[in-house]
Amino acid sequence: MIFRIMAGLAAFALPFSAMAQEKVLKAVMHADVRVIDPIWTTQTIANIHGALVYDTLFGNDADQKPQPQMVGKYEISPDRLTYTFTLRDGLKFHDGSPVTSKDAIASIKRWGAKDGVGQRLMGFVTALDAVDDKTFKMVLREPYGMVLESLGKTGSSIAAIMREKDAQTDPQQQVKESIGSGPYIFAKDQWVPGSKAVYLKNKDYVPRTEAPSSFAGAKIPGVDRIELIWISDPQTAMSALVNGEIDFYENPNTDFLPLLAKAKGVKLMKTGVIDSTQGMIRLNHLHPPFNNVKARQAMYYLVNQEDFLRAIVGDPKYYRVCPGLLTCGGPYENDGGTAFFKEYNPKKALQLLKEAGYNGEPITILATTDHNTITPATQVLIQAMREAGINVDVQSMDWGSVVSRRAKKEPPAQGGWNIFITTSGGVGTANPVLHTWIGAACDKGLFGWPCDPEIEKLRNAFGMASSEDERKKIAKELQTKAMEQVVYIPFGQWDTPLAYRADRIDGIVPNTGLAVLWGITKK
């Protein structure tokens, strides 16, 4: 009897399984897609989403050289003050409407109002006007060396081109729809926040013809459907990959790398040429005690990078001690200001803090509970601070709440904070202009709000420098100043290779920091 029912059910289920013939990429990212506006937030996951759905005018290639992406041809005036862009043919939004200059201009303006790199660029821009439907002009106040690099940026937030009406949304508000012109279409009706986001192949997408390299070159949608599945537990995600339940796992925990390396069908892949992640301890410059530079510098005595890296990564093969702010192994690595780092000495730290006026007040640290690198790093810092005898007020919360709370400028007692820890992508941190966390633009800067005009000046100078030697010199100066001001304390850098089922998928485009999924094909 029971068997008969089961047989009946099986027959009923058959047509469904036949439907499942379409090629589906099941990928687990480091986070869950909750916000669908890549401009509104710097969250990496929102930008992975954005990179699938939206296209960009330029795309930096693996060597961080900008290449035209949506732009067909462009001209730079000899005085390097006027840029004329012409969109290539065949660009259409997912709702069928063509991409026009107006869309591009509105999008750049919104991005330029919100994103750190964009703000810097827009600081130079005096006019941004449409010439015709496909052509528009950008006029600068003075020459700026990073125009195309900024537009082709491969880290958060990308300069995504939206429909004009979406781009006119207040940058402080999220766009409600996620309609772009990129290689994949966001299936909003199938989106289950907290569980999965679904993308369907954009059949009308016209890719470029060049070979893909990071954000540059052809973006060929390789599968019919991409499912970004959210598995919060890294072990579960790893097991799911080993078991073949998913195809792609963006950030396996380094502890699992030996297991993954052994697993049949699974391959590991380095995401880019330099280490993908740098750890950062961010202090709040607005409130005591860290409004005093002496107090900030005292914290250097509490950071032994090796301790942090061991706790996060474990295997020394995958991490690197790097006392500088600009990525070690990157083009602008230097030793400027690294002398601020001292031997681990909690007593000394407390003494210096006291000298800076600290008197045992609680120091509020935002401790995320659900992040596989930030959580352990925070624990290590708390331990060190406690050892020093600092009164630590630990606020445990999930990462999303940290992201919300770190934006609060109020004093810690009124919902603000003193310390939080975050990480940033290696490409971004390698370049002083793209590296927004190194900035010190006061209120306009990133959370923590370091404030030092000198630093900002140096960053501008870097952007306008004409030679590589000059850039390197400015970079060193900048790092020294930033280390002195303690814009943040780095605690090392590491790389997490991505893991995927080599027996099932192919065509992964490596890109440090922001996973690129469009090229992946399924066997």
Partner: protein, 291 residues
């Protein structure tokens, strides 16, 4: 003159002997001894611990059990054995305080409900409402209202447990009220307060004690579950739920981080449950039906 009747009825020589007591109530003895050991371990945790349970030692992370780390180390290089021993404190504090507080509250409300109709109809509606909300859900909903901490966790576990105690006490009070010995006491001129204190209250204690052991076990499990979900005691407190929650990521390469606190939790709950089962069989066989 009436004759003095013979010896008293069956009361075969019951001199107390430990062996007999254990033979008759093996579950009480087993559960009780186990629990006592755990309590000793928790109270004297600093004496038993081999390491500082809070001390991070990233160099020694995820070490398997060995002479130095009896139960291995976790991902921060902390000693799992020492953390587990300290974790017993959290579980026992939560379990015991939940059991005691909800029993006291439940007893007061249950007596009131069983005795006064007006209070009964109001309080029981509220209890029914609270009972309609699954306990973990109710607990985590309450926890969202305040900053995480041991106190709020205990309160959040008590709130869903109290209605269960109230129901038991109320049912017992109602059934006691119908007992002939209550009528007998009333007929003998016993007044309300004395009736409550001398005849009703002592007879509710046995089922209440039994119930409170189950509440205690359930409290410990809920605490561990809440911590496991990240909604329990603050992360740096080494509760068993937190140890497991932090260790779950490394289960495949360091199973000791989950299995050892998990086993301690299971054994503690087991001990409390066995004690409860034994007490139930001993004190109140009628309760056996209701589990």
């Amino acid at each position: 003159m009436a004759v003095i009747t013979d010896d008293l009825a069956p009361s075969p020589g019951r001199r107390f002997s430990l062996a007999t007591a254990i033979r008759r109530n093996p579950t009480i003895a087993f559960g009780g001894v186990l629990l006592a050991l755990l309590i000793v371990m928790a109270v004297f945790a600093p004496l038993f611990a081999t390491h500082d349970p809070f001390k991070l030692s990233p160099v020694n992370r995820l070490r398997p059990p060995s002479e130095r780390w009896w139960f291995g180390s976790d991902q921060f290089g902390r000693d799992v054995f020492s953390r587990t021993i300290y974790g017993a404190r959290v579980s026992l504090i939560v379990g015991l305080s939940v059991a005691i507080i909800s029993s006291v509250l439940g007893l007061a409300l249950g007596l009131a409900c069983g005795y006064f109709k007006r209070i009964d109809s109001i309080v029981m509606r509220i209890m029914d409402g609270l009972m309609a909300i699954p306990s973990i859900l109710l607990a985590i909903a309450l926890i969202t209202l305040a900053r995480p901490g041991l106190g709020i966790v205990i309160v959040a576990i008590i709130v869903p447990e109290v209605p269960r105690v109230v129901r038991v006490v109320r049912a017992v009070v109602l059934s006691i009220r119908g007992q002939p010995y209550i009528e007998s006491a009333i007929a003998g001129g016993t007044k309300n307060l004395k009736l409550l204190l001398r005849h009703v209250l002592p007879n509710t204690l046995a089922p209440l004690i039994v119930q409170s052991t189950y509440v205690c076990a359930s409290g410990m499990l809920i605490e561990a579950s809440l911590s496991f979900l990240g909604a329990g005691v603050p992360l740096e407190v080494p509760s068993w739920g937190n140890i497991i929650s932090q260790g779950k990521t490394f289960f495949q390469i360091a199973p000791w981080t989950i299995l050892i606190p998990g086993a301690f939790l299971a054994v503690t709950v087991l001990a409390v449950n066995l004690l409860g089962d034994g007490l139930r069989d001993r004190l109140d066989p009628r309760l056996a039906r209701r589990l």
